[in-house]
Amino acid sequence: MRNAISIRKLSKVYKIPSVLPWRKSRRVEALSEVEFTCPAEKITCLLGPNGAGKTTIMKILAGIILPDQGDALVLDRSISRADSAFRSRIGLLTTNERSFYWRLTGRQNLDFFAALHGFKGAEKRKRVSEVLHEVDLESEADKPFRLYSSGMKQKLNLSRALLGNPEVILFDEPTVHLDPIAREEMHTFIKEKIVQQRRATVLICTHDMTEAQKLADHIVLLHQGKVLAEGSMDTLRTRVKPGHRVVLEFDIFPQDEWLEDKRILSTRVMDNRIELTVVDPTVVPDIVEAAVESGGRVEKCVYQEESLEEIFSEITGRAE
């Protein structure tokens, strides 16, 4: 699988000057040899608590700050050596609604940013209308930005990120100020319009585990400036606990030794239920059949998967 973004041994230390001039400045290690990849035309979620270094990575990718060491390759180009024209291939959506001109209308804002992307005249007007239509904001486009609701502001933010027709789009906490309906709309838009239709690569930085679990094809767990793990949900689950977890609840518990030779990694019996970890989930019907044959009566059979939150806690716990 081709990677649209490859982060290589990225390190960044911030010097925080002391408020008191006679005290030395403090050094805060924001990133320490961070390495991960984002597969092309997929959604990667950069997940971590506040202060993990997510925004630093986004700012490095957007060309706003420079790393101390390491490099980031976006579409096979080193970001530190890329010229300003290359930036039109990368879209950015930030949480900062103050990055718009509040006295101007939504359309006037987009008109200005479209010009910075190199659009001119009729082509510019067409592009602005296209992106406004795409996010369903055309009817509100001529209202001043200051009168927009949070949802409308984020739609305009999204349309601005799409202006340059980017191949890679960086989303910094895209749903942080949104209500559940607008959040759902944003998720659908990212999945269907951006990834499936446009075939763009998306990197989302978030601390919302549910959002990451819902959207991500690929997850990168970041903690205290270090990558703790990366991969698909299944890969991360396997890393935390190999195998698949199945819980069987019985009305009548089967007789002993019914679980032999079923490729079971571990078992835990609690009253009338048994928690199993199996290598291959296709063996579960055989297990249920064996239980019935051994005189058991199965009330419930549930696959239990670790949530991303559990995986994250487990992995960060091990790291600490």
Partner: protein, 266 residues
């Protein structure tokens, strides 16, 4: 094209703050009115320093104020616009667009300079009409050239000034040094010849001194364009020295702020 987009955006923003626009125009009018009455108070008194310029203080100060607009802007507008963009939060996003840092910085200030240019030109045209400056077409064109050179010179000063704002956020030595000295030594509201000799020598290294002198000679002393060529050359030398230095300073400042990760902090 990108610079035009900045100008259009800033015109729209300026027009959306109509009351501020009226106050700014009113402020310029009131300051001119003050100098008009100062001039009237001393009208008839003969000053040897004003004699070459028709001995009219108001005409003298009008040219000074029109040109001094560029000093204020060069020293504060670029730095001020950067600071506003940092505070408002637009700078960070602008830096992520496919636009060079120089286009961003100059674009952000261009409207301020153009409005200062228009104000200066407006003041001089009104002066020419109401105070009956006897100006030939050639002199008017050379005056325009002087204003353009002053514009470029102070844009370079502005870039130097902005470099300090980018790195230190607050505390701008260029503003303190050049701002104070330009108003004091640049013959804006009184002739530098009234000051002691060392100050007069120091005034020679300031671009505003030459710009104002050339404009006054053309508009008030009825000199020919050929007479102001030395002042034009000095302005050009100033630009040739300062523009590359400012550009290097700005590049260093932006890289340092990107390294420190505080480009958008204030």
């Amino acid at each position: 094209m990108k610079l035009l987009a900045f100008i259009k955006k800033d015109i729209l923003v300026t027009l959306s703050y109509r009351f501020r626009l009226v106050l700014n125009l009113g402020g310029t009018f009131i300051s001119l009115l003050i100098f008009y009455f100062i001039g009237k108070t001393f009208s008839g008194a003969i000053s040897p320093f004003l004699e070459p310029y028709g001995n009219d203080y108001f005409s003298y100060v009008l040219v000074g104020i029109a040109t001094a607009n560029f000093v204020t802007l060069g020293l504060s507008a670029l730095a001020g616009q950067i600071r506003s963009a940092q505070v408002e939060g637009t700078l960070e996003y602008l830096l992520a667009t496919p636009t060079s840092i120089y286009t961003l910085l100059i674009g952000n200030t261009l409207w301020s300079f153009i409005s200062a240019f228009l104000t200066a030109a407006g003041i001089l045209i009104l002066g020419a009409i109401f105070l009956q400056f006897r100006v030939t077409l050639n002199a008017a064109l050379v005056s325009l050239l002087i204003l353009i050179l002053t514009f470029i010179a102070f844009l370079a000063v502005g870039m130097l000034s902005a470099s300090f704002v980018i790195v230190y956020k607050r505390g701008n030595p260029v503003e303190y040094l050049l701002g104070w000295s330009s108003f004091f030594l640049g013959s804006v509201i009184f002739p530098v010849e009234v000051l002691p000799r060392p100050f007069q020598l120091a005034a020679q290294i300031l671009p505003i001194t030459h710009a104002i002198r050339a404009l006054r000679e053309l508009l008030l002393a009825e000199s020919t364009p050929g007479d102001v060529i030395p002042s034009l050359i000095k302005l050009c030398i100033f630009i040739a020295i300062l523009a590359p230095i400012s550009s290097l300073f700005l590049r260093y400042a932006v890289n340092r702020a990107k390294k420190d990760g505080n480009l958008s902090q204030y």
